[in-house]
């Protein structure tokens, strides 16, 4: 079975983003970019399935600018077999990204797609579910544990009430949550090896994908600032303050 994994290039999770004063977006110049943390977990899970003999090939896919090659190389260094960059200078939104994946699933005859549950830039959390809808297949979102059986998977999902377990037939789309695994560290020799692994570049047009209707981002602004607080000297003072505010 072939597994497709999504790898999005996003602002590193340690960066505190700044909104541009003109409201046109967030400042990205010189900001550290990384693999979306949930996608790293997705790559790791695919590799583990391959290492366990449940999958034959792990193909990593990024839809984005040429610079996303860097993130694809990281995924190859982790151990993915092959990469596909679907180049788009314009940022693509979830429904378009889902259309691209749907085409690739068909083209590659993939049996499983693993995506991160959300990207930490737009925080939309839509692509896996949209892709499953387009493929007419099962979705197992927020996975914290997966187990591949013959033609199905048993997936434990992190839901509001706790943990939910479902069975899904393959092909399926899994979305990775934080506790699915801990991604491996990439070693220097792996980075060297990754340079030789194949990476194809395609365009939306090559795949026959029309960009979907989208959300027009009209303005970006910083959130309302919280009024500055202060430190209290003792437990007594804290209790007194809270009682004054009617909170205790």
């Amino acid at each position: 079975m072939k597994i497709l994994v999504g790898v999005k290039r996003v602002v590193d999770y340690n960066v505190r983003v700044q909104v541009k004063p003109d409201g046109s977006g967030v400042a990205l110049d010189g900001v550290k970019m990384s693999v979306n943390p949930f996608d790293e977990i997705a790559v790791e899970e695919a590799l583990r399935l391959r290492e366990a003999g449940k999958a034959t090939e792990v193909v990593v896919v990024s839809i984005g600018p040429v610079a996303a090659q860097e993130q694809l190389r990281t995924a190859l260094a982790m151990g993915a077999d092959r990469a596909i960059l679907v180049e788009s200078a314009e940022a693509c939104q979830s429904l378009t990204v889902a259309r691209v994946f749907a085409k690739l699933v068909e083209k590659e005859q993939a049996g499983l797609v693993i995506l991160g549950k959300q990207a930490i830039d737009d925080d939309a959390g839509q692509t896996p579910q949209m892709l499953a809808a387009l493929l007419g297949c099962a979705q197992a979102s927020y996975a914290s544990k997966v187990e591949v059986n013959d033609n199905s998977m048993r997936v434990t999902q992190e839901v509001d009430a706790g943990l939910q377990t479902i069975d899904v037939d393959l092909p399926a789309v899994i979305s990775a949550d934080l506790r699915l695994n801990e991604p491996r560290y990439v070693k220097l020799p792996d980075i060297m090896k990754a340079k030789k692994k194949p990476m194809d570049t395609l365009s939306l047009a090559d795949l026959g994908v029309e960009p979907a209707a989208a959300l027009k981002v009209v303005k970006t602004e910083a959130p309302a600032a919280r009024g500055g607080g202060r430190k209290v000297a003792s437990a007594e003072e804290l209790v007194k303050e809270l009682k004054n505010k009617g909170l205790l």
Partner: protein
């Protein structure tokens, strides 16, 4: 004028607390109709009554089907699509619960339209504010085209509506083929008599600084004394101190209690994303430089193992 279909949630006949919050958002859409749809098997009457009583709701539809016993996104989505198309709705909304976030994108893709995640403010029938970058950049988006507007509503941004005139309840049966590729197996929920984390007016959360599952007793004990729900940071959940449903933050629960007490939590941006709308934030941390103090209204520097028992005695 808009016509809004809300995917309501219910468990064992109890209406989800978020439904009233989604209705509050729907009321801002210049709506002529606000219809709550409930999916379940057999026991929908009391949830339907509760939904019908919510102020602003004009009708409740119940979809009773054995396949909806444990509602799953892949099965509920085609039913929602059928309702949306038959009823000619302009908007389909759900809450930003795990179920809502799982279901709405599937509905949107089936309808061939984009989806708005985490609506925090309605500016117009197709114009909304929503958070990105863990709440550090708020974007105004317009839904292009004239398709159905699909969205999840950020519960923390909307207080629930109260009760109003009773709306009619109608049972519908839908002629939709449901897929068999997804099957419910089981659910694990830790039973608790404590207030619900997502709607509690007071929340006490513990972080890595608490040190162990055993030590978390000190958090539970203080929370019980002040009648608060209990939450946690990702680090505390990852370390196995408490179960995943207690995680607060960008990728956990986003809450807006009147009082939030962060104990042994450093204040990473991902954690802060979950508490931005809290009324008063209190931080207890032994490191006076911890970033949590930058957002805390009241900060107390010191060892939590000394301070919490002291506080518990004082309140």
């Amino acid at each position: 004028m808009s016509k809004v279909l809300i995917i309501g949630e219910q468990t064992g006949g109890v209406l989800g607390q978020a439904v009233g919050r989604v209705v509050a958002c729907a009321k801002e859409l210049n709506a002529s109709e606000v219809v709550v749809a409930l999916f379940g098997a057999g026991d929908l009457a009391s949830a339907a009554d509760a939904a019908a009583a919510l102020d602003g709701v004009t009708r409740v539809v119940t979809v009773d089907n054995p396949a909806n016993d444990h509602p799953l996104a892949a099965l509920v989505a085609p039913q929602v699509v059928a309702l949306a198309q038959q009823g000619g709705y302009s908007h389909v909304l759900g809450s930003n619960s795990s179920f809502g976030k799982d279901t709405l994108p599937r509905v949107a893709a089936l309808l061939g339209v984009p989806q708005v995640t985490d609506i925090m403010l309605v500016l117009g029938e197709r114009s909304f504010k929503r958070p990105t970058y863990a709440g550090n950049a708020i974007v105004t988006v317009e839904v292009a085209g004239d398709g159905v507007v699909c969205g999840t509503v950020r519960s923390a941004s909307y207080p629930a509506v109260g009760n109003g005139d009773k709306a009619p309840v109608e049972a519908v049966s839908l002629d939709v083929a449901l897929p068999s590729h997804t099957r419910y197996i089981s659910q694990e929920t830790s039973k608790s008599d404590r207030p619900d984390l997502q709607s509690a007016p007071k929340v006490v959360s513990g972080g890595r600084g608490v040190g162990s599952a055993e030590n978390f007793k000190i958090i539970f004990s203080f929370a019980d004394k002040i009648g608060a729900a209990v939450g946690a940071s990702r680090a505390a959940v990852d370390a196995g101190f408490v179960p995943n449903e207690m995680q607060v933050g960008q990728t956990g629960k986003i809450i807006a209690p009147g009082l939030y007490v962060a104990v042994g939590i450093s204040g990473a941006i991902q954690h802060l994303a979950g508490i931005k709308d809290a009324g008063t934030i209190v931080a207890i941390n032994k490191d006076e430089e911890a970033p949590i103090f930058e957002v805390a209204d009241l900060g107390l520097v010191g060892d939590l193992f000394q301070l919490l028992p002291e506080l518990e005695k004082l309140v």
